[in-house]
Symmetry: C2
Subunit: 304 residues, 2 copies
C-alpha cells in the first residue's frame, strides 16, 4: 500500500535573509516524498541527469522512498532552479530556471507502481498528470497540485485533468485565478464543481482551509520562532496531507471530515518543519516523534 508521487526532482539555489546556498537537493517530488514518507511508503516518479548525486539518492532511498521510477538520463543535467526571497520572506524572485532533462519529462510508471492505491501529482503539465492517472489501475485516492501558469495558459487541459481528481491542493492566489473569486468560500464552491470533492487552499504562513463536500475547516498557520527558508513548504504540506491519508488507508468514498482535518494539520506540521532549515535539511534529523509532538502543540495552541 504505497503512495505514488510524481513531479520534479531538482537542484535549487536559494538566497534568504539568513544565508545563501548555491546548489542543494530540491524539487516538488523530493519535498512531497520526504514529507509523506513519515507516514507511508512512497514510490517516486521523476527524472534526473547523471549529475544527480549518490548522496541525494541515498537520502531518499533511506526514507522508504522507492526510486525505481526515478529515470536517469545519461549525459543529461538535472532541473536547476534558483531564487531569492524578500526580507519578509513573502515574495520570491526566480533568478534562474534551467529545465534540462525535466523539459522532456514524460512520466512512465514502472509496472510495480501501477496497482498502488494513492497518487499525488506534483505541479507538472496537466496532460502529463492525466496520463499518469490513466496508467494506474486501483486508485483509492488521487489528486495533486497545479500552478498559475497552467491555470492561465492550459485551462481546458487542466479542467479535464482535475475533473478526475478526488482532491486539489492549491494556494489562495491560484484558487482565485482558477475560480474567478477572491472570497474562499465562493472560490471553493466553483472549484469543487470542477470535480474535486476535497479542496485544500494553502495560505502560506496564515495556514490553510479545507473544503470537503459541504464541510469546511479553517486551520491557522503554526507560529515558527524563525522562518529560515520557505522553499518546499507547500510541497511538504502536500506530502504530509496525502501521506497521512495513505497511512490511515483512507479511500475517496469513505474519507470523513475528521480524518481530512487531521491530514491538513499534519500537512501544516510538515510545512512548518520544512521552513526551519535550508532546503530539505530539516528532514535529515526530523523524527516521527517530533512530528507527533508538533501535532499536539498545534492542538494545544488552537484549542478554545
Amino acid at each position: 500500500m504505497s503512495l505514488v508521487v510524481v513531479g520534479s526532482v531538482a537542484y535549487d539555489g536559494v538566497e534568504t535573509p539568513h544565508g545563501k546556498v548555491d546548489r542543494m537537493l530540491g524539487g516538488a517530488a523530493t519535498y512531497i516524498s520526504l514529507a509523506a514518507a513519515y507516514f507511508t511508503p512512497v514510490k517516486l516518479v521523476g527524472v534526473v541527469g547523471d549529475d544527480f548525486a549518490q548522496e541525494d539518492s541515498d537520502l531518499l532511498a533511506s526514507r522508504n522512498i522507492d526510486l525505481a521510477g526515478l529515470e536517469r538520463i545519461a549525459g543529461g543535467k538535472t532541473f536547476f532552479w534558483a531564487g531569492a526571497y524578500s526580507d519578509d520572506m513573502n515574495d520570491r524572485t526566480t533568478l534562474r530556471t534551467d529545465l534540462n532533462v525535466f523539459a522532456d519529462f514524460n512520466p512512465r510508471l514502472p509496472e510495480a507502481y501501477r496497482a498502488e492505491p494513492y497518487l499525488l501529482l506534483g505541479n507538472i503539465q496537466p496532460a502529463l498528470q492525466r496520463g499518469v492517472l490513466a496508467q494506474m489501475s486501483q486508485i483509492k485516492l488521487a489528486g495533486g497540485d497545479t500552478m498559475n501558469y497552467w491555470i492561465r495558459d492550459y485551462r481546458d487541459e487542466l479542467l479535464q485533468t482535475i475533473a478526475k481528481w478526488d482532491f486539489l491542493l492549491i494556494n489562495d492566489s491560484e484558487a482565485q485565478m482558477l475560480s474567478g473569486w477572491r472570497n474562499l468560500r465562493r472560490a471553493a464552491e466553483v472549484i469543487q464543481g470542477m470535480g474535486p470533492r476535497t479542496l485544500v487552499i494553502k495560505r502560506g504562513e496564515y495556514g490553510a482551509v479545507l473544503f470537503h463536500g459541504d464541510d469546511h475547516f479553517i486551520a491557522p498557520g503554526y507560529l515558527l520562532e524563525q522562518v529560515f527558508d520557505p522553499t518546499g513548504a507547500g510541497d511538504s504540506f502536500a506530502g504530509g496531507f496525502i501521506g497521512y491519508l495513505a497511512g490511515e488507508g483512507v479511500a475517496a468514498n469513505d474519507a470523513d471530515c475528521a480524518t481530512l482535518r487531521r491530514a491538513v494539520i499534519y500537512g501544516s506540521v510538515m510545512g512548518s518543519f520544512c521552513c526551519e532549515k535550508f532546503g530539505v535539511d530539516r528532514f535529515r534529523s526530523l523524527t516521527r516523534e517530533d512530528v507527533d509532538t508538533r501535532f499536539r502543540e498545534f492542538q494545544s495552541c488552537t484549542k478554545f
Copy 2:
C-alpha cells in the same frame, strides 16, 4: 460593573466595491461600544459636534451605552473621515480627514465613570490615553489600541502609556513597527517586555494571535461568504474581546488562558459580523443569540 470606552465618535464616508455611503455613523469608540454592549454595560467617552444626529445617539443609548461622557461642542462639527477600499478590500486609501472637534479632544471622565473596573482605550494620543487611566480609581483590567502614527512619532510617550496596560491590541504591521520584529513570536516577546502581559495581534481576514504570559493561541479568521465593508472590524474585535472579559468579571491578576482565548474568538465573531454590512448597520439587527451561534460555528469549523 461597566466598561469605559474612550475614543473617536465620527461620521464616515466609505466606498467599497459593493457601494458607497457618503456619511454614516462611525469612529472607533462607536464600534467598540456597540460590539462590547452585547456582553456588558458600556460607558462611552468621546466628543461630537452639534451636527451629531439624534438617531445616532438613540442607537447607542438603546444598547446599554451610557452617553454621559459624550461631550457635545456647540457650534462644532463631528470628526469626519472618508476612505475607499481596493477591489480585494485589503487596502484602503484615506480620502479625507477632518478632525473638527476631535482635534481638541481631552477626555474628562464623569464622576460616575471613575470607579468602573474595565477600560478600553481606543486609538488616540498616548498622553491622553494615560490621562484617562489616571482618572480611574478601581481598575481591574485596562488596555487599548494604538496605531502606526503614535508608534513612529510618539514612541516614548506611547511606551510610558502601555507600560501600565494589562493588554494591548494591535495589528501585525503595528506589532512589527513597535517591536522591530516581523516574526510574531519575537515581536510578542519584545512587546510583552514593554508592559502588557496580554497581547492580541490582529491579522485582518487571517485571524488573530493571543499571547498571554508564556501561552499563545492562534485563531484563524472566520470565513465570510462576502466582505461588504471592513470599516470598524478591528474596533468591533476589540469591543467583543474586552466586552466578553468584562461580562465574565475577569481581573488582570486572575485572567486565565482559556477565558482569554474565548474572548479572542468573541472578538473575531464581532469583527466578522461588522463586515457583513456598511458601517454599523449589521449591529442594528444582530442579536446575542446570533453572536453565540457564530461562536459555536467557529468552534465547529476549527476543531480537529
